[in-house]
């Protein structure tokens, strides 16, 4: 049994471990050493109804909060599996040595997050993702030392190798130092390649989060689901190179959002949403901040920014529970959040959409699986804070065993697949690569990327007007034309950074259109997708999963009913 896993974030590493535990031979590919994967940026925490704070929290409550938070667009049966497995997952992480903050009795402490009323979020200071990722990285290292897992660090996945029956038999990948491209055989391939923040140019994501891998298999026939649902996190630091996140945990621990109105502090979230206050779900908080700044013109210093204020809290408390993010703010802004309120504005943050998979996390191509932020499964139209470390971990946790089950039922293994199938895909990728090396036009790829990001942020952002979405799609088509006139500036065959970027840019442009046209088509407002032209949720027509299929002339859309078998859709209210 041979399994290939692409990605060294939480989803990828748990897939690796589970497959290795089941006795498979595993090859793990990642752009960066696993330990530098984007999961480490996660700050606030991970949800599980551990109910250790005497608040009668329950799995059922976690389920309902997740479904309502996602505005009923998530399939309910898989979400049930997610929340049920959560406590066990946290305990496994705990045994691996994750330094979760503790109660005075030495139990795992929990804090409050958005869109919920019970404390449910386990955390390790304000670097929870880092601590979870490191624990998995350590466990995988143990498997590598034992010779059961082989790592390919600094390799980029390019495509799935698909045989004439439409079954996935392996991958092609490029070594980013030698620039050589190789094909690899596997009985099952798991993509755990994370989100695609770079499509928005600047976001809270790491710069390696391009979504390129998902974009590549989308062009090979895997539908991309719910692309239009993009979460803007309400509280990020405005910045030139990156929009650095200030975790929702800061509000969970008592932080307040405000701006000046009539010369006095105005706590608009607390006023508008008295029941949840500063901890309304992210889509709602982001729209409120957008309204205050853009529509009412009440941003601090006349700019698009409001205050996130922690100055009323005890400095030591802040250091122990939020140290990691306080450090980021100090290092990058030069001001101390203990003493002065932080300035923040919404930023692209998380992609609820992703590769379409069945409930076993297999795509429509047999043998090709997807797990983690790159799938679409658990968050519907809006993700609740601290639910995605959970879904990344959980999907990896079940994807590994599902892949093994699939392999055991296979009729023919990858070893029996003729070499010509691999050579064919290798030739295709070599040709794409060569054509990029040959690009000698006048356009700079990084400038095309920048323009794409600006278009996506302004026209496909927190508030989406029909006419702006059309304008955005026109712009994307213009950029696609200009793409063909790129000059690559570096034709070196050793550690060339530009060549892979140009390939990623193409894949990003494909997904940008999926997002934009998916948004244009969806004539309603639901979760993160807000259209002033259609301000209400419309269950009659749009309680549906979007599935985009790649065609030469742009995405083709199909829609599929959502599983609402466990909780009847109801109005979503937080005031």
């Amino acid at each position: 049994m041979k399994v290939i896993v692409i990605g060294g974030g939480l989803a990828g590493l748990l897939s690796v471990i589970k497959a290795a535990e089941a006795g498979a031979e595993v090859e793990a590919f990642s752009l960066v050493p696993f330990k530098r994967s984007h999961s480490l940026c996660a700050q606030g925490g991970i949800n599980a109804a551990l109910n250790t704070k005497g608040e009668n929290d329950s799995i059922q409550q976690h389920f309902e909060d997740t479904i309502v938070g996602g505005d009923f667009l998530a399939n309910q049966t898989p979400v049930k599996g997610l929340v049920e497995a959560a406590p066990g997952l946290i305990y496994a992480f705990d045994r691996m040595g994750v330094m979760f903050n503790r109660t005075p009795e030495g139990f795992i402490d929990l804090r409050l997050f958005g869109g919920v009323k019970n404390r449910r979020t386990a955390f390790a200071g304000a670097t929870t993702g880092q601590q979870l990722l490191y624990a998995l990285d350590e466990q995988v290292r143990k498997w590598i030392a034992a010779g059961k897992v082989k790592e390919y660090i600094g390799w980029e996945f390019l495509s799935a190798v698909i045989d004439d029956e439409g079954i996935c038999r392996g991958i092609t990948a490029q070594d980013l130092n030698s620039m050589e491209i190789h094909a690899f055989r596997a009985d099952a391939v798991i993509l755990a390649t994370g989100g695609e923040g770079m499509i928005y140019g600047k976001s809270t994501n790491s710069v390696i989060c391009t979504g390129s891998a998902a974009g590549a298999v989308y062009q090979q026939g895997v539908p991309f689901a719910n692309g239009e649902f993009v979460q803007f996190h309400p509280t990020a630091m405005p910045g030139d190179d990156k929009l650095r996140l200030m975790s929702e945990a800061s509000r969970g621990e008592g932080g307040r959002i405000w701006t000046y109105k009539d010369g006095k502090p105005w706590y608009f979230l607390e006023e508008w949403y008295p029941a949840y206050g500063n901890l309304v779900p992210r889509d709602i908080a982001s729209r409120a901040i957008y309204k205050v700044c853009v529509e009412m013109g009440l941003g601090i210093d006349g700019k698009n920014q409001v205050y996130l204020d922690l100055t009323h809290k005890d400095p030591e408390f802040l250091e122990v529970r939020l140290g990691g993010i306080m450090e980021i703010y100090r290092n990058f802004y030069g001001e101390d959040p203990v003493k002065v309120p932080m300035k923040i504005f919404p930023a692209p943050h998380y992609f609820m959409g992703g590769m379409y998979v069945d409930w076993n996390h297999m795509t429509n191509i047999p043998g090709l699986f997807a797990a983690g932020e790159c799938d679409y499964m658990y968050h519907g139209a809006n993700r609740l804070g601290a639910n995605s470390l959970l879904s990344a971990a959980y999907s990896g946790y079940i994807c590994g065993p599902n892949a093994i089950k699939y392999i055991k039922g296979m009729q023919k293994s990858a070893a029996d697949t003729p070499q010509s199938i691999f050579d064919r895909e290798l030739a295709r990728q070599t040709e794409i690569t060569q054509s990029i090396y040959n690009m000698d036009g006048t356009e700079n790829p990084y400038i095309i990327h920048e323009e794409m990001g600006e278009t996506m942020i302004t026209d496909v952002g927190v508030v989406r007007y029909e006419k702006n979405l059309l304008r955005a799609d026109e712009k994307l088509q213009e950029l696609t034309e200009r793409y063909k006139n790129i000059g690559i500036n570096d034709t070196g065959r050793w550690a060339n950074d530009v060549m892979p970027f140009v390939r990623q840019l193409w894949n990003m442009l494909q997904l940008a259109r999926v997002i934009t046209l998916g948004a244009y088509n969806r004539k309603e407002s639901r979760g993160s997708h807000y259209m002033p032209d259609y301000p209400e949720r419309n269950d009659d027509q749009w309680l549906k999963t979007t599935k985009a299929y790649w065609t030469e002339s742009g995405p083709r859309f199909e829609y599929e009913d959502v599983d609402v078998s466990l909780l009847k859709p109801r109005a979503r209210k937080y005031d």
């Binding site: 471990i17 960066v32 946790y397």
Partner: protein, 248 residues
């Protein structure tokens, strides 16, 4: 405010290639950092003499000083480039790759050895499997805090760059893995296999290769108490030595 930013970058095409210096001037904008300047250069890769050149190659990922990827030597100091704010750096700003690891290209180096050393010292808790066995051990918050400090190590390589006892020919496993050994030895489950870890640091390249220069703690961007950890580990190795002598 200057109207441009002056950079001198040490460039090299692979570890066998001879390094050369190339200078750039980039229009000044407020709040820039070294990485955002490098990103500007690749949008228009022209050097200070007006010659077209290739974009500079470097590693980066998170841009918020948690991933450790963009570590390099900036104005002579080893640090992460993302948090090196232009407004705080005297110009011209010199950028060099880490000197103790093989150069891949320009500012990108091969730090695989860092992870090899973590493997060597068995820096993990040896759990039986990821299945659900119920809650782990209770841990006092006080203990948790210092273990957490050590577990924030990003494996960036700053402490190696600063350590006079580590170089490409030495066998010394370096400061960071030693601190990890201490942390795993003190973890309630990790402690059960502490002997195995101790064996790995008692031999060649182990803890006795630390010359106590104390440079590591100065260089660590996360202020991990490396020297305290190594001192503690030194005491523990003595006890371990006595114990294993008794068992003979």
């Amino acid at each position: 405010m200057p109207d441009s930013i002056h950079l001198k970058i040490k460039r090299q095409n692979g570890s066998r290639d001879l390094p050369r210096w190339e200078e750039f001037k980039v229009p000044y904008k407020p709040n820039m950092n070294v990485l955002s300047v490098l990103m500007e250069i690749r949008k228009n890769p022209v050097n200070v003499n007006g010659e077209k050149t290739t974009p500079v190659v470097w590693d980066c990922s998170c841009l918020e000083e948690v991933c450790g990827a963009c570590t390099m030597v900036i104005n002579g100091n080893v640090r992460q480039a993302c948090s090196a704010l232009i407004d705080k750096l005297p110009q011209p700003i010199t950028l060099q790759p880490l000197s103790k690891f093989p150069v891949v290209r320009d500012l990108k180096v091969d730090r695989a050895v860092l992870f090899e050393h973590l493997k060597k010292v068995k820096a993990w808790v040896n759990i039986d499997g990821t299945f659900d066995l119920g809650p782990g051990p209770r841990v006092p918050e006080r203990e948790r805090r210092w273990m957490y400090e050590i577990s924030r190590c990003m494996t960036c390589g700053c402490c190696y760059e600063a350590c006079p006892n580590f170089n490409s020919r030495s066998k010394f496993i370096g400061p960071a893995p030693l601190a990890q050994v201490l942390r795993f030895n003190k973890h309630p489950i990790g402690a059960m296999t502490q002997e195995e870890r101790m064996e790995t640091i008692m031999g060649e390249g182990g803890i006795t290769d630390c010359g106590n220069a104390q440079n590591c703690i100065e260089a660590c961007p996360k202020k991990i108490p490396l020297t305290t950890a190594i001192a503690q580990l030194n005491r523990d190795t003595t006890i371990h030595g006595i114990r294993s002598w008794f068992r003979k």
